[in-house]
């Protein structure tokens, strides 16, 4: 019998979707291991969160009433203590920004083999996890030959658990060494206000790394103007300072759901796709026929954007 302990995530009073996805993934793994699924919810309105997390498949929810928001020093201490008490076979955590701010420390502390960013897994005597490498160009499987493992799962890969459950909710009293808490969250800030709200746009023309040079963005701007569309971009364009942060679509930028999303020179990294996959119609223009953007596009053109974009603009002048 081997249990699974999954660590849920919330921010500014809201449970994040990955928490419900962890229930689905955790239940799958617990079934394969033949054990129970335990959830932990740490900090904030833990009893309110526990009510919402009480979904089918969860056996026990451990509430840990420590502080209001995520603090990795507190999380690390709580999770290691809870792990020591439960001795689960697998520790599941989100491969989110906050997950990556504590999961590697917890794994090192507990001397657990760590596999991050799993998009699938199965257990058949040993755990086998599927990951992506080289910017999603290849998939790999890794085998973990150990009785205990730490695993972070990619958000969005498992459906969120929906049906109400009847889990036991128990309070876990962690013993926090305050002298070991050496980080303090002092606030949050929304970024990317500015001139345009890309989340309001019906048509987005979005530009990525394929544009090569800053001055070439003008080409895409001209197309956007001709179409009456709004210009947005993937992360590298913003990192280069070629467009302001408020134009960035993706996991760390804005989530957009326009009627039409035209992705130009965008390969379709998972972080970008997370921000635009809800668009009604997705059109991709890219020279690489294997670019992941074509996996989610409805229509595509495999050609050089420097030929296609001016020709398209010409059609609308």
């Amino acid at each position: 019998m081997s249990d699974v302990l999954a660590i849920t995530e919330h921010r500014r009073g809201e449970l994040r979707d990955v928490s419900y996805e962890l229930i689905t993934a955790g239940r799958q793994l617990a079934d394969e291991l033949g054990g129970d699924l335990h959830l932990a919810v740490i900090s904030g309105d833990v009893s309110g969160f526990a009510d919402k997390l009480n979904r089918e498949g969860v056996d026990t929810i451990h509430t840990v009433d420590e502080g209001e928001e995520f603090n990795h020093d507190v999380y690390t201490q709580v999770i290691t203590q809870l792990y020591d008490e439960l001795q689960p076979g697998a520790l599941l955590m989100p491969n989110s920004v906050n997950g990556l701010d504590y999961a590697p420390a917890v794994a090192n502390h507990l001397d657990l083999p760590l596999v991050t960013d799993a998009i699938d897994f199965s257990y058949n005597g040993t755990l086998e996890a599927t990951r992506e490498q080289y910017g999603s160009k290849v998939e790999t499987t890794v085998e973990v030959d150990a009785d205990h493992v730490a695993l972070t799962i990619r958000p969005g890969e498992w459906p969120g658990a929906e049906e109400t459950g009847d889990a036991d909710v128990v309070s876990f009293e962690a013993s926090i060494d305050e002298s070991a808490v050496k980080s303090t969250v002092t606030g949050f800030e929304e970024v990317g206000g500015g001139d345009v709200d890309i989340t309001d746009a019906d048509i987005l023309v979005s530009v990525g790394r394929g544009i090569k040079e800053e001055e070439n963005i003008e080409l895409v701007q001209e197309l956007a103007d001709a179409l009456g569309a709004t210009l947005s971009s993937s992360r590298p364009i913003v990192d280069n300072g070629w467009l302001p942060k408020n134009r960035q679509v993706g996991q760390s930028g804005k989530v957009v759901t326009p009627d039409v999303y035209i992705a130009i020179g965008i390969s379709g990294a998972v972080q970008h796709v997370a921000g635009m996959k809800g668009s009604d119609t997705i059109i991709a223009i890219n020279t690489d026929p294997n670019a992941p953007i074509f996996d989610i596009a409805d229509y595509g053109i495999v050609d050089d954007l420097f030929d296609v974009v001016p020709a398209l603009t010409e059609q609308f002048k």
């Binding site: 504590y102 760390s252 989530v255």
Partner: protein
């Protein structure tokens, strides 16, 4: 003050490639400085420029070939470099987080830095875990996915921002010494100047074996093994318009007009 920056040479894969066993065939790979580490190097150099008596040292786990990449970091302003390699790592399909942590912890033990900067992740295996794992191993404080840093050296605090999902940033104060994992966009990495490239030729790249670091081959033992590598099956059901650029642009234009786009 000493800033240690981890620098990884990563393979970039061409659009078309073939997989040979558990590796991508060497013909389709180009090696380069890991994108995230480029920003970490720049951050280290900027700290040295803004404060007195700061030494920036890079550390790389890599074979001799990686010295070309290390020279790039030196040309951008790092003072000296350490390159760790050992026969035990030759031919390894996969080096796990725990192994990297143990090796880097031994380097930290030698160098006693005040601050360690790493990229958030490596562009090849994308584990995103080494920095935070290292912090736990060496007893440093840490922060992951840092996209703004204001270092108060005298106060012993790093005021920083962490880039969360959805366009939200967390403002955090972290006690030094610390390991910070650096996100792209935190700065604008400089190009190596000709002068920098010349100077880099005379900077030290110290090779270190496991023995030099008080480690042995057992550090490479791992419970995690790579068992397969393959090209993901395309899930594409996209309609691809064929033809010359003018023809495909024409088809797309027609489609957009049918949707009412550009008719204002």
């Amino acid at each position: 003050m000493k800033v240690l920056v981890t620098v990884k040479e990563v393979a970039e894969v061409e659009d078309e490639f073939e997989i040979d066993g558990l590796k991508i065939d060497e013909r389709y790979l180009e090696y380069d400085l890991n994108e995230w580490d480029d920003y970490a190097v720049e951050e280290g150099v900027q700290i040295a420029e803004a404060n007195d008596d700061v030494e920036v040292v890079t550390v790389t786990i890599g074979p001799e070939r990686s010295e070309e990449t290390i020279r790039m970091a030196l040309a951008k302003g790092a003072d000296r470099a350490i390159r760790v390699w050992d026969d035990a790592l030759d031919g390894a399909d996969f080096v796990d987080v725990a192994t990297k942590t143990d090796i880097l912890a031994a380097v930290v033990e030698d160098e006693q830095p005040d601050l360690v900067l790493t990229g958030v992740q490596a562009g090849d295996d994308a584990f995103g875990a080494t920095g935070v794992s290292l912090a736990d191993a060496i007893g440093f404080e840490w922060a992951a996915v840092v996209n703004a840093l204001d270092l108060d050296v005298d106060g012993g605090v790093a005021h920083l921002r962490r880039e969360l999902e959805g366009g939200v940033e967390e403002l955090t104060d972290v006690d030094l010494p610390a390991v910070l994992t650096i996100q792209t966009g935190i700065n604008e990495p400089r190009y190596a100047s000709l002068r920098g490239i010349r100077q880099a030729q005379s900077k030290e790249i110290a090779p270190k074996s496991f023995e030099d670091l008080g480690l042995d081959a057992s550090v490479t033992e791992s419970e995690i093994t790579l068992t397969s590598m393959y090209e993901p099956e395309s899930e594409s059901d996209a309609t691809i318009w064929e033809g010359s650029a003018d023809e495909t642009a024409g088809k797309l234009a027609e489609f957009l007009r049918d949707k009412g786009v550009g008719q204002a």
